[in-house]
């Protein structure tokens, strides 16, 4: 069954007298458990697509169904609920709360979801364990490296047990090694049954997805399936190249 269904979705921004067509009748379906990379140059409409799928923005025309529910006409309050329950976000700039511990950052979505304190705590610890940060739950966001911060962000995205994780250039601020580490995480999550939509402009990153959608001028230009590159294998290879790392 299709988790995401976009039917002739358009988005028009008005900047003064000029109308900007960010998306032109985009129709797209993403099945559950799929790992999709969205590529395109800046201005191609990939960010707008992401915002609409992420329920942060509403289409000007067309219909968007998420998990069978037409969310394109929901109000701000209802959209917040959908973001909280069904979606998880990972951003390029991590967007953690500053000077706040990893644990509290991960608990945040559960707080708005009305999850009781004990369960909140338990689930946040679990999620942090899943991204390999069990040892650093009390570190503050400003005391962690970029890779660690992005792991916290991934933990925050998956703590609500979402159907879909949206990642907007998640590796844009990371070095190549950490990039591979994060991609290992995403592939693990995809294998565990979470649908992933990843926006990137790096072909190297898109290679880890099983489907690549390329946007151009607000339209889908190509939509291809591929055999994903295995991030875990790449990581092992990097480790082998660095004897110091291999020892640790």
């Amino acid at each position: 069954m299709a988790l995401i269904e976009l039917d002739k979705v358009s988005k028009v921004y008005r900047m003064g007298d000029v109308e900007v067509h960010a998306m032109r009748e985009v129709s797209l379906t993403v099945a559950e458990r799929d790992f999709v990379a969205v590529m395109g140059s800046s201005g191609s409409g990939k960010s707008t697509l992401m915002n609409i799928i992420g329920c942060l923005d509403r289409p000007t025309s067309g219909v968007y169904r998420l998990d069978g529910v037409e969310v394109s006409r929901l109000d701000r309050r209802a959209l917040a609920g959908v973001r909280n329950k069904t979606l998880g976000f990972v951003f390029q700039s991590f967007n953690l709360l500053s000077r706040t511990s990893a644990l509290e950052n991960v608990e945040l979505p559960l707080l708005y979801g009305g999850v009781p304190a004990r369960e909140r705590h338990q689930r946040a610890l679990e999620a942090l364990g899943r991204v390999g940060l069990a040892e650093r739950v009390h570190h503050r966001s400003n005391e962690m490296s970029g890779g660690q911060q992005q792991r916290v962000a991934v933990a925050r995205a998956l703590v609500t047990r979402p159907r879909l994780i949206l990642a907007d250039e998640p590796t844009g601020n990371l070095d190549s090694r950490t990039t591979v580490e994060i991609m290992v995480l995403f592939q693990e999550l995809a294998a565990a049954g979470i649908t992933i939509l990843l926006v990137t402009h790096e072909p190297d990153v898109a290679a880890y997805a099983s489907r690549v959608v390329v946007m151009l001028d607000g339209r889908v230009r190509t939509d291809t399936r591929q055999d994903p590159r295995q991030a875990a294998a790449d990581l092992a290879a990097v480790r082998d190249e660095d004897p110091h790392e291999a020892a640790s």
Binding site: L56, R77, N84, R99
Partner: protein, 408 residues
């Protein structure tokens, strides 16, 4: 999101900028502090005035006789005796709102003990007088009706006179000479302090009115050569007592409806009320000035909350992305403003109580911290926080999540 969490988040945000938070609420602190201190001082002064009026006597009315008029020079009230002993009896019998009535005759005289002397006011009166003035005996016995009947040569002294004539010696049973006539000291009045005009109540001596008339200052036996003190049945009854006595005396003095009263009645309860009213006006005025400074403090809160919303735009975006509703965001900033204002209010109360205490100690003023004012002040600062926090909080809640997330 549960309220406790919202409060925790707000508190953390405020503590992150301790200095800024403190400076922001300084206006509220000073405003509330001023309200508390001013009201405390105002209430203290009011209590003092009330106490001093109460010391004059409760529900007190004073009837003064009319004035003499000789060749165009009018002598003022009291210069002509118009009140008779029969008038006094009539008031006792026929004015239901009057509980006590007593004459007060007064003369200045030199009092002499064995080795000291002192000039003071000697009053001739009856036992009711002390009930009207709620004045109790401290030692010995008071004037009795029997003393009046026998025109006994006994005297009850005020505390100041005792101090001047006898010092530490027990005066009871001693002989004091008034106008060279020996009187036996039978009692000492308890200390009453000063009148609202600064007169020493305790610098006096009391003798039976009959003795006064025969031994100290004569005069026409029919007329009261002094004033009449009246005690109304209750505070509310003072106005009624005044009317009843006025009507009664006008009738007894055969005054035509157009003629002026040949006596006058002073209502001390009214004077006390007028004074209290003046105090209240002053307190209200001071409190409103302080209220204005609270409003200014509120604007300070609004200002800093707006800054805070701008600074934390990205945080707001993140919260929205993970599922915060506009209401969640609104409440978060509102609770922050409220916390700030209420904390300021509480600090202000502490400052106000402290300042009132210091001022009281320094200038010897009485102060009275009213718990209701404390509660109202804190609640009012909370209200200020909500009112001035609403606009920034609303602004935060209406942010577009995409713009907020992109904000640098």
């Amino acid at each position: 999101m549960i309220p406790l969490e919202t409060f925790r988040v707000a508190l953390r945000a405020l503590l992150r900028n301790k200095m800024r938070s403190f400076l922001t609420v300084l206006g509220i602190i000073i405003g509330v502090g001023a309200v508390i201190a001013m009201v405390a001082i105002g209430e203290g002064a009011k209590a003092q005035v009330e106490a001093s009026f109460a010391s004059m006597g409760s529900n007190l009315l004073v009837v003064l006789p009319g004035s003499t008029q000789s060749g165009g020079a009018r002598g003022g009230f009291g210069s002509l005796p118009t009140l008779t002993w029969d008038d006094l009896g009539a008031i006792r019998r026929e004015a239901p709102a009057v509980r006590y009535a007593a004459a007060q005759l007064r003369s200045n005289a030199q009092l002499m003990s064995d080795d000291q002397n002192w000039a003071t006011s000697v009053y001739g009166t009856s036992p009711d007088y002390f009930s009207i003035r709620s004045w109790r005996i401290a030692r010995g016995r008071p004037l009795l009706d029997a003393d009046l009947e026998s025109a006994a040569k006994i005297v009850v002294l005020g505390a100041t006179v005792v101090d001047k004539l006898y010092g530490a010696v027990d005066p009871i049973g001693q002989t004091v000479r008034i106008k060279n006539i020996p009187f036996e000291v039978v009692g000492v009045m308890e200390k009453k302090g000063q009148s609202p005009t600064g007169q020493d109540y305790d610098d006096c001596a009391f003798v039976p009115q009959t003795t006064f008339q025969t031994k100290i200052q004569g005069g026409l036996p029919k007329f009261i050569s002094g004033v009449i003190f009246l005690g109304a049945t209750s505070t509310e009854a003072t106005a009624r007592a005044q009317t009843q006595v006025t009507d009664l005396l006008r009738d007894r003095h055969h005054l035509d409806s157009g003629a002026d009263d040949d006596f006058s009645i002073h209502n001390l309860t009214e004077m006390a009320n007028a004074q209290a009213e003046g105090m209240r006006t002053l307190t209200t005025l001071l409190a409103s000035i302080a209220g204005v400074s609270l409003l200014v403090g509120g604007i300070g809160i609004m200002n800093i909350m707006l800054v805070s919303v701008t600074e934390r735009t990205r945080e707001i975006g993140v919260r929205m992305a993970v599922g915060a509703t506009p209401l969640n965001i609104l409440l978060q900033f509102l609770v922050e403003a409220l916390t700030l204002a209420v904390a300021g209010g509480m600090l202000g109360v502490a400052l106000g109580v402290f300042a009132a205490g210091r001022l009281a100690a320094k200038f010897g003023w009485p102060t009275l911290v009213r718990p209701d004012i404390v509660v109202i002040s804190v609640c009012f600062s909370g209200l200020v926080g909500v009112v001035f926090g609403l606009y920034p909080a609303r602004k935060a809640s209406q942010l577009d999540p995409i713009d907020a997330l992109r904000y640098e």
